[in-house]
């Protein structure tokens, strides 16, 4: 009787394996499919131009336009202005950045209270970093406190920032990360995105999304088939399916 059940169980296992077994695609077959894909050079050029333009590589975009004949999807003149703002924030010259943004388009800060608050917060951080305690307190009370009253999360951020003043050794305090360069970069990114959006341009380049899509598509396909994968995006080599 027990051997009967063993056989039944084995049959059930085989059936399960057959039901969930994945289609296997050989390297030859896969290479053929890759070759059948039609990709236009102009489209790849557009992707690269989109990257250069969104990330702000103005001169490179100019040169690329000449060398490849690809038209940028945004006015190159506006990139220089945008990069100047981004650079200013990255270097901690927030007042300068705010002036530049308003020159570019006064509506940006008007319609973006969160961005404006973060810029003001960065100004406060820079004052504290430079040891200008009195100025910092004055600035916090006059400029930031009123914003804090309007918005609970602003208030919390403000309190966190002001608490930097309470510590002698700021590198070890719980809010020390505010003094880190990454905070500047975060704010710079925010302002960059806001400017792009105001110019009706997507704020992120397309290329990283496509790379993520590739990872996702391969993960999805893994459920259905065994096929040559690209595991290292930086050298795009095909790795044979593990059979």
């Amino acid at each position: 009787m027990s051997s009967f059940w063993i056989v039944i169980r084995q049959l059930a296992e085989i059936e399960e394996q057959m039901a969930t077994s994945k289609k296997v695609i050989t390297r030859e077959e896969w290479k053929k499919r890759l070759n059948d894909v039609k990709i236009r050079k102009e489209d790849m050029n557009k992707l690269v131009m989109n990257f250069l333009v969104t990330e702000g590589y103005v001169e490179a975009a100019e040169k690329f336009r000449i060398e490849s004949g690809t038209e940028p999807d945004i006015d190159l003149a506006t990139i220089t202005d945008r990069m100047a703002v981004k650079k200013a924030v990255q270097c901690g010259n927030v007042e300068d950045a705010i002036e530049k943004v308003n020159d570019l388009n006064p509506e940006i800060l008007d319609t973006n209270p969160q961005l404006f608050f973060h810029l003001q917060q960065q100004r406060l951080i820079e004052l504290i970093r430079n040891g200008k305690v009195e100025e910092a307190l004055e600035f916090a009370q006059e400029e930031l406190a009123p914003r804090g009253e309007e918005n609970q999360s602003f208030l919390e951020e403000l309190e966190r920032t002001v608490s930097l003043l309470a510590f002698e050794d700021v590198s070890n305090c719980p809010v020390g990360e505010l003094l880190d360069i990454s905070q500047r970069l975060k704010t710079a990114s925010e302002v960059n995105a806001a400017i792009l959006t105001s110019q009706s341009h997507e704020k992120d380049p397309k290329l990283p999304s496509l790379l993520k899509m590739l990872i996702w598509a391969q993960n999805q396909l893994d459920e259905k088939a065994a096929y040559p994968r690209i595991n290292d995006l930086s050298n795009a080599t095909l790795e044979d399916p593990a059979v």
Binding site: L34, R40, K41, V48, Y57, K63, P208, I215, S234, L238
Partner: protein, 474 residues
């Protein structure tokens, strides 16, 4: 014992024998690229391949219970309903197309008749055309009299509001989420899972069941009450948000762009790019371990850039002359695809400036020998056809006069120069940049995945992705 002499005693280093063996593949590859611009090669719009429903199917409708108008876009119940097997059902003339994100159609209730027993939904081929959609297996229907959703059995589930005379009701399929969705007067009513059991092609279906009920249908010929484009954008966004959460290795995009520029020889751009990267905050650093092996593609950068410039300016003679100087082995075989493409381009340039007599002379000397050769023939014929038109740029062979055609020749020369690099490990490296390989892999995976799902849904298409982004900005 005979040794097979593969080199013909020409070039001597070991690499070139591998090169000769692949010669035919290379030729085909470049020739294929050269015809990409012709209209025959364009199969971008996959959606157009599938036929969409345009009108009602009068052949299999439950005649006797209903009558379909001559324009096949409206239906009226003509009988007196006595029981559950005298429903007036009519399907669309074609099943819902599947190679897209969504399919959708709408009905307008002109007259709710005696009992308002109208339904909209989807049914399969071979549906019992006397029953309401949803009352039989492999069908679903949203019914106007009770607002319930029926899915393959006589008892329905609570779903939405009832609908009656004057209402615009829509039914759709979302292939990404595998759901049916229904709308009323421009607003979503709800969605329901499209069970795997509903296999095979589904037909948009409408039904009327009481005296004088009359329904008009819209398969997209008129504007929908529901904002389908907006819904589509929202659904795409949902998928986008899942994908955005995936993390990438640091600076990978930067590295891929850089190796793209190197691969194609865009030297000036590369120099500006490198200069700018030095001053970014934080500085970008590509470790050699990251796999960006540049040795193979820095090779002959300046020469490749020079040749590309010449070809893009139409200065073919100068390009050929430089090649004879720098890389004679590439232009040695006059029957190679490289020489062929250069000759074709020269011909095209002569036509472009109107030097037709000279073009004919040139064609006789350099192009005539390619007539009838498989792979070369199509392009030769297209080139010669240019002569037939007063305004060739507006003809079907006008693509030859575009900048992109010069670019194809430049890319071919670029690849051939890269192939002379003694360190080149495989031809693939000369033909396709890393970026291109990744994009091909993405497309192939996307298509295979869709195929495994019964061919339903959108597949990745670089051209479409770039176009959609543009449209969204308007």
């Amino acid at each position: 014992m005979n040794s097979i002499n593969r080199n013909n005693g020409e070039s001597n280093n070991g690499k070139s024998s591998i090169f000769d063996g692949l010669k035919q593949d290379l030729d085909l590859y470049f020739l294929g690229l050269s015809r990409l611009g012709s209209s025959k090669a364009l199969t971008d719009k996959e959606e157009d391949e599938e036929e969409a429903p345009k009108e009602l199917n009068t052949i299999n409708s439950s005649g006797g219970f209903l009558v379909v108008a001559p324009d096949k876009l409206s239906v009226k119940y003509t009988s007196v309903n006595l029981h559950g097997h005298d429903v007036g059902v009519v399907q669309a003339n074609k099943p819902a197309p599947v190679k897209r994100l969504l399919y959708y159609f709408e009905i307008y209730v002109k007259d709710a008749g005696a009992k308002g027993q109208i339904a909209i939904g989807f049914t399969n081929e071979g549906f019992k055309m006397r029953r309401q959609p949803g009352w039989e297996v492999n069908s679903c229907g949203y019914h106007g009299d009770d607002g319930l959703l029926y899915r393959g059995q006589g008892k329905g589930d609570a779903f939405g509001p009832t609908y009656t005379k004057g209402d615009m009701v829509g039914g759709g399929i979302n292939y990404a989420s595998q759901e049916f969705f229904f709308t009323k007067n421009g607003a979503i009513v709800g969605t329901v899972c499209k069970e795997k059991e509903m296999k095979g092609r589904l037909f948009p279906t409408i039904a009327v069941h009481s005296q004088n009920e009359e329904v008009h249908v819209n398969f997209g010929q008129k504007k929908f009450a529901f904002d389908l484009k907006e819904y589509e954008a929202q659904e795409r966004l949902k998928q986008q948000m899942t994908i955005e959460k995936i993390s990438l290795p640091p600076n990978i995009s930067y590295g891929l762009v850089r190796s793209y520029l190197l691969h194609y020889g865009y030297e000036d751009t590369l120099n500006s790019f490198d200069l700018a990267s030095k001053s970014t905050i934080p500085p970008i650093y590509i470790a050699q371990e990251n796999g960006f092996d540049e040795q193979d593609i820095v090779y002959a950068l300046n020469q490749r850039k020079t040749l590309r410039q010449l070809i893009r300016n139409g200065e073919i003679d100068a390009a050929i002359s430089k090649l004879h100087n720098w890389y004679p082995q590439i232009v040695q075989d006059d029957k190679s695809a490289t020489c062929f493409l250069l000759h074709c381009q020269k011909f095209i340039e002569l036509v472009r400036v109107g030097a037709l007599e000279e073009a004919v002379k040139y064609g006789r000397i350099e192009l005539a020998k390619f007539f009838g050769l498989a792979g070369f023939d199509d392009l030769v014929q297209d080139c010669v056809a240019l002569l037939a038109y007063e305004r060739p740029q507006e003809s079907s062979v006008g693509y030859l006069l575009e900048e992109s055609q010069r670019d194809v020749v430049a890319d071919t020369v670029n690849a051939m120069i890269l192939s002379t690099n003694p360190n080149m490990k495989d031809m693939k490296g000369c033909l396709q940049s890393y970026l291109e390989r990744l994009l091909r892999q993405l497309t192939a995976c996307s298509l295979e995945r869709r195929s495994a799902n019964g061919d339903q849904g959108e597949a990745f298409h670089l051209h479409q992705v770039l176009t959609i982004g543009r449209d969204m900005k308007c």
